[in-house]
C-alpha cells in the first residue's frame, strides 16, 4: 500500500484577523502579526509558522475538544527533507546496536507479533508558547497551539527491545526517523533516552493516533510516544532504534534542546553555565474560553475554561483569579482522561459589573508544586508561567 499525500497537496492560504490581545500582566501582548491559515494534505486549516520544513499550529478553538483531531494536530519538523509518501509494505523498523538479535520489523510484524498497547497522552512541543517570552527569543513563535492530546495505539518499546534482547552494559537508546537535512552535513535528527526509561513500559512505538493511522505530517507510519516528556523526543517517521553502551553525543541532545541544569529559568543578564537536555513537561495551564473577540455580557453566565497539564504527576487543583492574582477561586476539574492527558478545568462566571477583568489561571500538581509568575530562558522552552487574559464585560 502506498500512502501518498503530495498529489492533493493543494495549499490554501488565508490571511485572517489579528489575534485577540492576550495580556501578560497587562503589559505584553501577543505579536500583532496576522495569522496565515493553511491547508496541508490530511490537515484542515492551521496556522502556518514555516513551510519548509512545515511547522503548523493548532487554532485555539480546537482545544475545546478533549482529543485533538488528527487533521488539526500540530506539525513540527526540524529537517527539510520529510516524507510525502511511503510504501509501507517495504518499510521496516530497524533495531540494532547492543542487542542479541538485530530486528527489521514490518508494520505487519508490529501489529501481529506484539500485544497492542494504548495510552492517552499530551504531545507538547518544548517551545510551545515561546511567543509569550519576554524578552523575546529566536525560534518558532508558537502561541499555545504547539500541543495536542491524543489516544495512541502501538507497541511498548520494552516489548520490542525484549524481542531484540538488550545486552548487558547498554545504557542508552537512540531514535531516528526518515527525515533528512537539505545538505549531508546538517546534523541528523536523532534523540536518545536512558535504557531505564526506554524499558519502563510507558514509552511506545505508535502506529495509530485517535483510532486512525498517523497523518504523514505527524510521522506516519510510526511515531515514538514518550508520555510526560516534551515532544522533541516523539520522533516521527521512526525507522531506526539503536541500543548504545555509551552516552549518545549527537547534536540534538548535546547542543540543541537544552535547559539550565537548575531548572527552566535563567536571567537574560546571566545565562546559566551548565545545561542539560530538556525532559519532562513543566506544569502549566492555559485559557481556551472565553473567546475574547466576542463581548462578554454583564449578568449573563460566561464559561471560563481551559487546560492544565504536567509530566504525569497529576493536577490537584486549578485556580482562577479575576483581579490579576489578588484573590483566587477553585475551578471544577473534568474527569481525568489518563495520567499523561491534559486535564480540562471550568468555571461558571456571571460578571456583575462592567469593565475590564484581568483573569489569571494557575495549576497545582499532586506534589504541591504551583505555577510561578516569572519565567524566562534563552530558548523559550517549557513554558510554565501563569497565563493572563483580559476580558471586557459590557
Amino acid at each position: 500500500m502506498l500512502k501518498n499525500t503530495i498529489f492533493y497537496a493543494v495549499i490554501i492560504f488565508v490571511v485572517c484577523a489579528t489575534l485577540p490581545s492576550c495580556g501578560n500582566n497587562g503589559n505584553i501582548t501577543t505579536p500583532a502579526s496576522s495569522q496565515q491559515l493553511v491547508k496541508y494534505p490530511e490537515k484542515k486549516e492551521m496556522i502556518l509558522l514555516t513551510d519548509r520544513p512545515p511547522q503548523l499550529e493548532t487554532p485555539l478553538k480546537i482545544f475545546r475538544e478533549d482529543f485533538t483531531p488528527n487533521e488539526y494536530f500540530f506539525v513540527r519538523w526540524h529537517l527539510s527533507q520529510i516524507l510525502t509518501k511511503i510504501d509501507v509494505d517495504t518499510f521496516r523498523l530497524y533495531i540494532g546496536g547492543s542487542v542479541d538479535k538485530p530486528l527489521a520489523l514490518s508494520m505487519n510484524d508490529l501489529k501481529t507479533k506484539f500485544t497492542p498497547d494504548s495510552v492517552v497522552a499530551l504531545a507538547i512541543c518544548a517551545g510551545n508558547s515561546r511567543s509569550t517570552f519576554d524578552p523575546k527569543v529566536p525560534g518558532s513563535q508558537w502561541r499555545n497551539g504547539a500541543m495536542g492530546n491524543a489516544k495512541w495505539k502501538g507497541v511498548k518499546l520494552k516489548d520490542i527491545l525484549a524481542m531484540a534482547g538488550v545486552k548487558n552494559g547498554s545504557i542508552e537508546v537512540t531514535f531516528q526517523g526518515l527525515d533528512r537535512g537539505a545538505l549531508p552535513d546538517v546534523p541528523a535528527f536523532i534523540k536518545s533516552l536512558d535504557i531505564s526509561h526506554a524499558i519502563d513500559g510507558d514509552v511506545m512505538v505508535a502506529y495509530e493516533m485517535n483510532g486512525q493511522p498517523i497523518p504523514m505530517l505527524n510521522g506516519y507510519p510510526l511515531k515514538l510516544v514518550v508520555p510526560g516528556w516534551y515532544a522533541t523526543y516523539w520522533v516521527g517517521s521512526l525507522a531506526r532504534i539503536n541500543v548504545l553502551t555509551d552516552t549518545f553525543k549527537g547534536f540534538w541532545m548535546k547542543t540543541a534542546y537544552r535547559v539550565p541544569s537548575t531548572g527552566v529559568n535563567e536571567s537574560p543578564d546571566s545565562l546559566a553555565k551548565n545545561t542539560i537536555p530538556i525532559s519532562t513537561i513543566n506544569l502549566h495551564s492555559i485559557f481556551v474560553e472565553p473567546d475574547t473577540s466576542e463581548p462578554v455580557t454583564i449578568n449573563k453566565e460566561c464559561i471560563v475554561e481551559g487546560l492544565a497539564f504536567d509530566d504525569g504527576t497529576g493536577i490537584k487543583k486549578v485556580e482562577l483569579s479575576f483581579d490579576n492574582g489578588k484573590t483566587w477561586q477553585n475551578t471544577n476539574l473534568n474527569t481525568e482522561l489518563g495520567k499523561y492527558s491534559w486535564r480540562r478545568w471550568k468555571y461558571e462566571w456571571t460578571p456583575k459589573t462592567k469593565g475590564t477583568y484581568h483573569l489569571c489561571v494557575r495549576a497545582t500538581d499532586n506534589n504541591g508544586h504551583i505555577q510561578t509568575d516569572k519565567q524566562w530562558n534563552r530558548s523559550g522552552y517549557a513554558r510554565g508561567f501563569i497565563e493572563h487574559l483580559d476580558v471586557n464585560v459590557n
Binding site: 495549499i11 514555516t50 513551510d51 527533507q81 537535512g181 552535513d185 546534523p187
Partner: protein, 78 residues
C-alpha cells in the same frame, strides 16, 4: 524526494537580499525569518553563526557578514 509547496514571503529591498535568499533558503524556507520578531544585531549575528557552526551551513565569513547586515536592516528596530 517530493516537497510540500513553499509560499515564499516577500522581503524588503536592501543590500544583501540576494545572498540572504540564496543561502538561507538552501536548508529552510524564508518563513523561518519572516515569522521572527525584530531582534537586536547581536541576536542576528548569533543566529547566522549558529547556522554555520552548529548546522554546518556552507557560508564563508564575508557572505555571513553581508547576510547579517541584511537581517539587521530588515528585522531589527531602528
Amino acid at each position: 524526494m517530493d516537497l510540500y509547496p513553499d509560499a515564499p514571503p516577500s522581503f524588503p529591498e536592501h543590500e544583501g537580499k540576494g545572498l540572504f535568499i540564496s543561502y538561507c533558503a538552501i536548508c529552510h524556507s524564508l518563513k523561518y525569518i519572516s515569522t521572527q520578531p525584530d531582534f537586536p544585531a547581536k541576536t542576528w549575528e548569533a543566529e547566522v553563526n549558529k547556522m554555520i557552526i552548529k548546522y554546518h551551513a556552507p557560508i564563508d565569513s564575508a557572505t555571513a557578514k553581508i547576510i547579517t547586515t541584511y537581517l539587521v536592516a530588515v528585522k531589527s528596530k531602528h
